[in-house]
């Protein structure tokens, strides 16, 4: 008991009683607050607005009915209510925490004098355990703890099997529905399709086969139109039997015409008896498969990819929501959209895999098209500013969508599509960005060389012929670059440059002897491919968004109004003929064995003889 001399024992006792009462009240108060906080916490765990089952259900419902305004309003109301509840609980917790601290502080402050008052005096005579026995017991305890830990460690060492991260070659893959080993594809024998007319192969038997062949041969690729600007992305038809005369207003020479429900600035790709295009608006995305022989819509598949940004991307009218042209390898078709959705379907329209690589920071909206290298799907992801470090080129495993490699690119957003060339010594992916033209190893993504020759907003794609890569952009240059170098080849590998007639949208075209440029507002310029000497220029007084295509010795130019101007691909400008379509065209045509496939603003056309 305290023995302060200047306070009498009764006062001490009274103070003790007061402090004890305060301690009891504060302790009880703290206990109640603790209980309330615990209850609030448990209740709050179920009230996380992001985990509300009802909200998730409504959002799923909205995906199915995107135009249901009542549903949208319900979601907003529920979302608001859940958020209010969530923040109310947060406030409660915060205030409760302060009250608890306050209560405990009072409790402890009161308990100090109480315990001091009640403290027992020392009892020196209390029995003590022998120090020897204490040491012995401590040794036993240390050994016990050590043995327990050792036993635990031994158990772990015996049970644990270190993972070598080996992936069996024939294992099914988790995030897709098909596996490498058991890919069931529709047999679309390209050789059969291209040997006869598409109409003849309309009824091709779609036998289910198991295949070990992983990618099409060069021969098969050339017989089809697998990607943007066809085989190699060069805009050159492998067939010379393409019609030169038709009339869209009368239907003459038009084999069929099919409407496409959703708009898109992408071009048709053709494999066997299938024609693929994509379409999208702010809320919907879809892939379309048409019968090449009849124009019948075989399937339309909506594209819904998990993890995609629910907000539509900002795009310009020139690109829209479906500018990237799909790509196919004869087994699958791969499509990409402005929001970053990438999806793979088989030829029956069964989704194989999908993923999202967006959203993009792209000034006009994402527009680069997909391409393939053997079993890889190559995706150019140029976005943001060069200093942002957001641009990259990636390769996905075609069968699974898994990333195989990715390489950062020191360029800002661009809209061109890469090509893959074979220099004879190696294969290279040629990409255009500002200011760099960069070549990559398609197998590994390793940078091979780069040349500083472009600038501005790059949309024209590169072309290649006779050992030279041709790149261009408006206000900059037309450059012929000899590939195969290493590092910065700006000073060593640019063979020639030219400055006239540079396009801002249309890609160049070359037949190996001449290079043709087409400005948006109609000026066409021809250069000698070897030394860059300007051969001729001609103002067609038309407007173009479509890149020129080469069919035999003719160049097909399609205006935004749908007029196809056929000119000779020679050392003199010579217009051969003009053909009208009944609607505007902003995409590149596809050419396969006697037929030309053109996507108009609303319809897909097949031009050819019946």
């Amino acid at each position: 008991m305290m023995n302060k001399t200047n306070i009498d024992p009764d006062t001490w006792y009274s103070l003790y009683r007061i402090f004890l009462a305060v301690a009891v009240i504060a302790g009880t108060f703290s206990l109640i607050v603790s209980l309330l906080l615990t209850v609030n916490y448990i209740a709050g765990k179920q009230g996380d607005p992001l985990d509300s089952e009802r909200l998730l259900e409504l959002k799923e419902e909205l995906l199915r009915n995107p135009n249901n305004e009542v549903l949208k309003e319900d979601i907003r109301k529920l979302d608001l209510r859940l958020r209010k509840e969530y923040f109310r609980r947060r406030r409660f917790t915060r205030i409760g925490a302060y009250m608890l601290i306050f209560g405990i502080a009072i409790f402890l402050g009161s308990m100090l004098p109480v315990m001091k008052y009640r403290k027992n005096p020392p009892m020196p005579d209390s029995p003590k355990t022998s120090q020897k026995a204490e040491a012995s017991r401590t040794r036993q305890l240390v050994i016990g703890i050590g043995s327990f830990i050792a036993g635990f460690a031994i158990a772990i060492a015996v049970i644990d099997r270190p993972n070598n991260y080996e992936i069996p070659q024939q294992q099914p893959v988790a995030d897709i529905t098909a596996s490498e080993e058991k890919i069931e594809i529709q047999e679309i024998p390209a050789t059969q399709v291209t040997e006869g007319s598409p109409a003849e192969t309309q009824g091709t038997q779609e036998t289910q086969v198991e295949t070990t062949k992983s990618y099409p041969t060069e021969e098969e690729l050339k017989k089809n139109w697998p990607r943007f600007r066809g085989p190699g992305g060069l805009g050159i038809s492998q067939y010379t039997n393409i019609p030169e005369m038709w009339d869209g207003t009368t239907g003459e020479g038009i084999l069929w015409k099919s409407s496409i429900r959703l708009p898109g600035k992408n071009s048709p790709v053709i494999w066997g008896n299938r024609v693929f295009v994509t379409g999208a608006n702010e809320t919907e995305r879809a892939v379309y498969c048409f019968d090449a022989g009849s124009g019948e819509l075989l399937w339309e598949k909506p594209v819904v990819v998990a993890m995609a940004d629910p907000e539509p991307p900002e795009v310009s009218d020139d690109t829209g929501f479906a500018a990237p042209t799909p790509v196919t390898d004869g087994r699958w078709v791969f499509a990409m959209f402005a929001n970053g959705d990438i999806i793979c379907f088989d030829f029956d329209g069964n989704e194989i895999w999908s993923r999202n690589v967006g959203p993009f920071d792209s000034m006009y909206g994402y527009a680069s098209s997909l391409l393939m290298y053997k079993d890889l799907l190559i995706v150019l992801l140029d976005q943001g500013g060069a200093e942002d470090g957001m641009s990259e080129i990636i390769a996905l495993e075609a069968a699974t969508g898994k990333s195989v490699w990715g390489t950062d690119r020191p360029v800002p957003n661009s809209w061109a599509t890469p090509i893959i060339i074979d220099t004879g010594e190696r294969e290279e992916i040629i990409t255009c960005g500002s200011p760099w033209v960069i070549a990559y190893d398609p197998a590994t993504g390793a940078e091979l060389w780069r040349a500083d020759c472009l600038g501005g907003d790059i949309a024209p794609s590169p072309v290649y012929a006779n050992g030279l890569v041709y790149v261009t952009n408006t206000y900059e240059t037309l450059a012929a670059i000899r590939p195969g170098g290493e590092g910065d080849v700006t000073e060593t590998h640019i063979v020639w440059e030219a400055e006239d007639g540079l396009p801002d949208i249309c890609s160049p075209l070359t037949n190996g002897e001449l290079v043709f440029l087409l400005e948006t507002y109609g000026l066409m310029t021809c250069y000698d491919a070897k030394d860059g000497t300007k051969v001729w220029e001609e103002d067609t007084v038309e407007t173009f968004n479509t890149s020129p295509s080469l069919v035999g010795d003719k160049i097909y130019l399609i205006t935004v109004d749908g007029i196809t101007i056929i000119v000779e691909a020679g050392r003199q400008f010579k217009e051969v003929v003009r053909n009208e379509l009944s609607e505007g065209v902003l995409t590149c045509p596809g050419f396969v064995d006697g037929r030309m496939y053109v996507r108009g603003e609303e319809n897909l056309y097949c031009i050819g003889e019946k």
Binding site: K4, K132, V142, I145, I149, D361, S403, G406
Partner: protein, 429 residues
């Protein structure tokens, strides 16, 4: 005396009121990703986050730490004032705990120092070095005065010591091996850049920040409730920094003593320490044969290399398992399970990884490298624990001679509770 406690209680309230006066400080920050632009016209509110602590406050913290250590040392060794130490404890709790929200703390700084030594890419802030080194320097000279009244983790436990009960000495000394284990794991995980477990599992940080994981809050609450009866349970049976402090304290030049003068063997202080840090005079050995215990001691010394070898061997065995604490290793395991079809769906981490476009093979190679690091680190850790166990056993087998009641330099936290029990102290005052 009771007025002194009234003053302390008032001081507690005053400091808490001051804490409330410090309103949260917000700063504007930049969106990590471009926010959506709502067509309805809705404008996203500006994102705010706590601003980084300014240089001024960092220097202030270091200055306050230095001043607090100096004052604690003065109060413990010179003034021998328990009341003064209690007031300083409350101040440290308020400043380092509730205002600075427990970070940086000296206890966690062990990890910063470790990662700096082992990971070349990590740059340690000067204030962290100061928080790590100053308490150790003071302890080397004056004993654990940092624990007495400066460490916020010790402070919050200290004010909860209400009705301490004696923990049997053998149990107390046995359980004090756990901090070595904790320190070993903390160093291993920090050295590999995998985790800061001392911070992650700091039981009191949630109180200081008025929010945190429920499990940690509950753990901290249980420790405080336990601490009402078992003084400073975290300091004694968990604190990894306490291990390093105890090494320094053992070698300290000056240290708090129970009596300011000669011990008169009155035994009044025998039960005064709630932390079992007072060593009694050793028992008379008159009838004890000189050879007793020698055999055990020699055996233990011979077995010491075996203890170390066993630790190294066990460490090698558990290295791979321990590596799973590293997030990259866990991600690699997840990706591998998904790639081999053993898991059907991606989780957030694997989804994010796949969106980066990095090939799985790179991640797997990184995980294997980390596993190798963990294996080596675990072997070193095992060896250290084996060595510690052996030395602990040897030290428990050494006969000691002590005539007076003394503070145990390893375990005494210099709190000054024993001062008032000493009649010599009262006489001198």
């Amino acid at each position: 005396m009771i007025y002194g406690y009234c003053k302390i209680s008032g001081a507690v309230l005053l400091i808490i009121c001051l804490l409330f006066a410090f309103a949260p400080n917000y700063a504007f920050s930049v969106q990590r990703f471009p926010p959506p632009q709502f067509k309805s016209g809705h404008v996203l509110p500006e994102t705010t986050q706590a601003p980084p602590r300014s240089d001024f406050y960092e220097y202030l913290d270091a200055g306050v730490l230095l001043a607090a250590l100096a004052v604690a040392t003065y109060l413990a060794l010179k003034r021998r004032s328990r009341t003064g130490l209690l007031i300083l404890t409350i101040f440290s709790l308020a400043y380092f705990g509730f205002w600075r929200m427990g970070c940086v703390c000296a206890v966690g700084s062990v990890q910063n120092v470790t990662i700096t030594l082992f990971q070349t890419g990590y740059s340690i802030p000067l204030v962290v070095v100061i928080f790590f080194a100053l308490p150790l320097i003071f302890t080397l000279f004056f004993g654990r005065t940092f624990c007495a009244a400066v460490c916020p983790l010790g402070a919050i436990q200290d004010i909860f010591v209400i009705k301490p009960v004696r923990v049997p000495r053998w149990l107390d000394r046995g359980l004090r091996v756990i901090p070595y284990l904790y320190l070993g794991f903390a160093v291993l995980f920090a050295a590999t850049g995998s985790a800061f477990i001392i911070c992650e599992y700091d039981p009191f940080i949630a109180f200081f920040r008025r929010g945190g994981r429920a499990a940690i809050l509950a753990f901290g609450g249980l420790l405080l409730i336990l601490g009402m009866f078992v003084g400073r349970p975290y300091c004694r049976y968990l604190c990894p920094y306490g291990v390093v402090l105890s090494w320094m304290s053992k070698a300290s030049k000056w240290h708090v003593s129970i009596t300011p003068n000669e011990c008169i063997q009155c035994r009044l202080c025998e039960d005064s320490c709630p932390f079992e840090a007072i060593d009694s005079p050793t028992e008379e050995k008159a009838n004890t044969p000189r050879t007793e215990g020698k055999g055990r001691l020699i055996t233990l010394i011979i077995l010491l290399p075996l203890f170390i070898a066993m630790g190294v061997g066990l460490g090698a065995g558990v290295g791979s398992y321990l590596s799973r604490i590293d997030p990259d290793v866990r991600l690699a395991e997840r990706i591998w399970l998904e790639d081999t079809g053993q898991i059907d769906e991606m989780d957030d981490a694997s989804e994010a990884f796949r969106k980066t476009g990095r090939p799985s093979s790179e991640l797997f190679a990184e995980a294997k490298q980390l596993r190798r690091q963990f294996r080596i680190g675990s072997m070193i850790l095992g060896g250290f624990l084996g060595l510690f166990t052996g030395i602990k056993m040897i030290s428990l087998s050494i006969k000691r001679s002590r005539k007076d009641y003394e503070t145990n330099r390893t375990h005494c936290v210099s709190c000054g509770r024993c001062f008032s029990y000493c009649p010599v102290e009262k006489d001198e005052k």
